[in-house]
């Protein structure tokens, strides 16, 4: 299954990319090792005119504007007072410039609904422990499934895949009811433990291990008398790093953006992650007349998305090369 998947192709392409290519097909632009785009067939080969490029670039610009519109709006409006958010044009700045004032309010407990700074800390904690745990478990499980054959390993793996089918919302309420029995309501572990279970991560790491950790290498190490743990930590793990980074990225995003689970299991606002806190503020601002919360919802939303966008830009070679996103698809 896994050797046939095209999952291997981006990875293999990565290793062969260093080899010189025939100049005829080479695009006239500096090639970037992590960017498969450096390998394209020149558009003249398709019989396209240069004008087509202009038109299609324009289409891309339009969609980029659509994509960036809400981001631009939230950046601009985080600098506004409550009145100006409603009364001035949404896509231009207005006096007074109250970005720093709004920002300072994030450290305060507004109307007893909770403090943004606390939620930010909670979210970071849940994301690091949940995302980190998910990555560690996926590494062990994925490597285990890829390189060991044991009784029931096939069935166990199919069970993991089947877990992909179970809808999250259908599992969340049952989870809540179970938590009520075992006293995990309002416990951070109620949030972190389920976040550490990622069938996608296990699947990805299995596929990635098949491709990037050669069986012969492990067999050779075994002949040399290396122990299994030593083989895993010293030999396999370094080779699995790019895959693990992608799993880490995806699971951190998953935890950071999770809303339904924390919404249901936390009833104390000091435990909320950002999503639940912002949702609460938005609801209170609209329905309880706490309109001073509106600027906080806006700046709070902005501060929520900045760390993740930064993370994506820093780690872009992992998702851009599509190393693993592509393997889900194939």
């Amino acid at each position: 299954m896994s050797t046939k998947t095209a999952a291997g192709q981006p990875a293999q392409a990565d290793t062969t990319q260093a080899a010189p290519k025939s100049g005829r097909w080479r695009r006239r632009r500096r090639s970037r090792p992590d960017d498969p785009g450096s390998d394209v067939i020149p558009i003249e080969m398709y019989g396209l005119k240069r004008g087509t490029t202009t038109v299609l670039t324009l289409v891309c610009v339009l969609f980029a504007i659509f994509t960036l519109t809400p981001i631009a709006w939230i950046v601009i409006n985080s600098t506004k007072t409550q009145a100006n958010i409603f009364e001035t044009f949404g896509f231009w700045f207005a006096r007074p410039f109250s970005l720093f004032h709004n920002f300072a309010l994030l450290g305060q407990n507004i109307d007893g609904y909770g403090t943004y700074a606390v939620w930010l800390g909670n979210t970071a904690l849940y994301a690091v422990l949940g995302g980190g745990g998910a990555t560690v478990l996926s590494a062990f499980a994925g490597y285990g499934f890829a390189r060991f054959r044991f009784r029931g390993s096939r069935i166990l793996f199919y069970l993991v895949i089947a877990a992909l089918l179970v809808p999250i919302t259908a599992i969340t309420l049952p989870l809540y009811l179970t938590y009520a029995k075992v006293h995990l309501i309002n416990s951070i572990w109620g949030m972190i433990l389920p976040s550490m279970v990622t069938p996608v991560g296990v699947y990805l790491m299995r596929v990635y291990t098949e491709v990037s950790v050669p069986r012969e290498l492990i067999d050779a190490a075994r002949l040399d008398g290396a122990g299994e743990l030593r083989i895993f930590f010293r030999l396999a793990l370094p080779l699995m790093v790019p895959g693990l980074m992608t799993v880490l990225l995806l699971s951190i995003v998953g935890v950071w953006n999770n809303y339904f689970l924390p919404l249901i299991i936390f009833s104390q606002n000091r435990l909320y992650p950002l999503t639940v806190g912002l949702g609460l503020w938005a609801e209170r601002a609209q329905n309880s007349g706490n309109t001073e919360l509106f600027p906080l919802v806006v700046i709070g939303g902005l501060v929520t998305i900045i760390p993740l966008i930064a993370l994506f830009l820093i780690l872009q070679r992992y998702w851009r090369s599509g190393l693993l996103l592509g393997s889900i698809a194939n």
């Binding site: 095209a6 192709q9 960017d35 785009g37 390998d39 394209v40 067939i41 558009i43 080969m45 398709y46 019989g47 087509t52 490029t53 299609l56 670039t57 891309c60 969609f63 980029a64 659509f66 994509t67 809400p70 709006w73 009364e87 044009f89 877990a163 089918l165 179970v166 809808p167 999250i168 919302t169 259908a170 309420l173 049952p174 809540y176 009811l177 029995k181 953006n257 809303y259 339904f260 919404l263 249901i264 999503t275 949702g279 609801e283 609209q286 329905n287 939303g301 929520t304 998305i305 993370l311 994506f312 830009l313 872009q316 998702w319 851009r320 599509g322 996103l325 592509g326 698809a329 194939n330």
Partner: protein, 268 residues
């Protein structure tokens, strides 16, 4: 994962009463769920939503993935990064931003509509609410789907495409007859994943309902129904039954897309 599910089925067979405690009611909660118009209205709504949202989003994603794969637009790397950004934005924040942008009185998009001659558009009216949600979700997820399709397109062997070019195959034929079939497994899987997601639609309508309480009912989607029945109404047993039924509906619909895939001889 299995334990909570088992406990949900167990819970769903009981009913808590204020007087008399919890009693075994067997299939009672299921009968109530299955006969609940509110529940099925929600199911119907998310199916309509999925049937529109998924094809539109995948068409846009495939269009851009093809453009970037062929390299026929400038600054492809930059555009791919921009298109992917909404994936990093939590659905809660995305829904909050769009709630402001589409707000009927002061939202800038109402001004835009007026500028092109459509006055007093209410994006949150009953008839436009679902299309608005579709736009929001398309904004959130197109980039992610595009990246996956782009990666799949990249793995189409070069020589196949070069052979087609040498045969003087027109470009649209190369795209639709050569490349599209080769990325079909990726598309089927995206349909599958997006369907599971669409049927669980929850965050966007819940946040929008904070801003527009009259436009979104407590049972707008099945997941909202479950949430409001459990948390709002404290009818945990009934909600557990509804969760089990919804889970089954989703599994049936998504598995049938996998069976379709297997029939195409493309599994694994």
């Amino acid at each position: 994962m299995i334990a909570p599910l088992g406990y949900a089925i167990y819970t769903s067979l009981y009913t808590s009463r204020i007087i008399g405690g919890t009693v075994f009611t067997g299939a009672g909660n299921y009968t109530e769920t299955l006969q609940s118009g509110e529940f099925w209205n929600g199911v119907e709504r998310v199916i309509i939503y999925a049937v529109i949202q998924i094809p539109v989003m995948l068409a846009i994603a495939f269009f851009f993935a093809t453009i970037f794969d062929l390299g026929v637009a400038k600054w492809g790397t930059l555009f791919r990064t921009i298109f992917f950004i909404p994936f990093a934005v939590p659905a809660v924040v995305g829904a909050i931003m769009w709630s402001f942008l589409l707000e009927p009185q002061f939202g800038p998009f109402v001004h835009f509509a007026s500028a092109v001659g459509a006055h007093n558009v209410n994006y949150f009216s009953p008839s436009l609410m679902l299309p608005s949600i579709i736009v929001i979700v398309i904004w959130e997820w197109t980039g992610y789907n595009m990246i996956i399709l782009y990666t799949a397109l990249k793995s189409v062997p070069r020589d196949v495409v070069e052979a087609a070019i040498l045969d003087d195959t027109p470009l649209w034929k190369i795209i639709l007859r050569v490349k599209l079939p080769m990325v079909r497994p990726a598309i089927v899987l995206l349909i599958f994943l997006n369907t599971i997601g669409a049927l669980q639609l929850f965050t966007e309508p819940l946040i929008l309902s904070y801003f527009q309480p009259n436009a979104i009912s407590l049972n707008y989607t099945p997941t909202l129904y479950i949430y409001n029945t459990a948390i709002g109404g404290a009818q945990y047993n009934l909600a557990a039954a509804a969760a089990v039924v919804l889970g089954l509906v989703i599994v049936v619909i998504s598995v049938s897309s996998l069976v379709f895939r297997r029939r195409g001889g493309e599994l694994g």
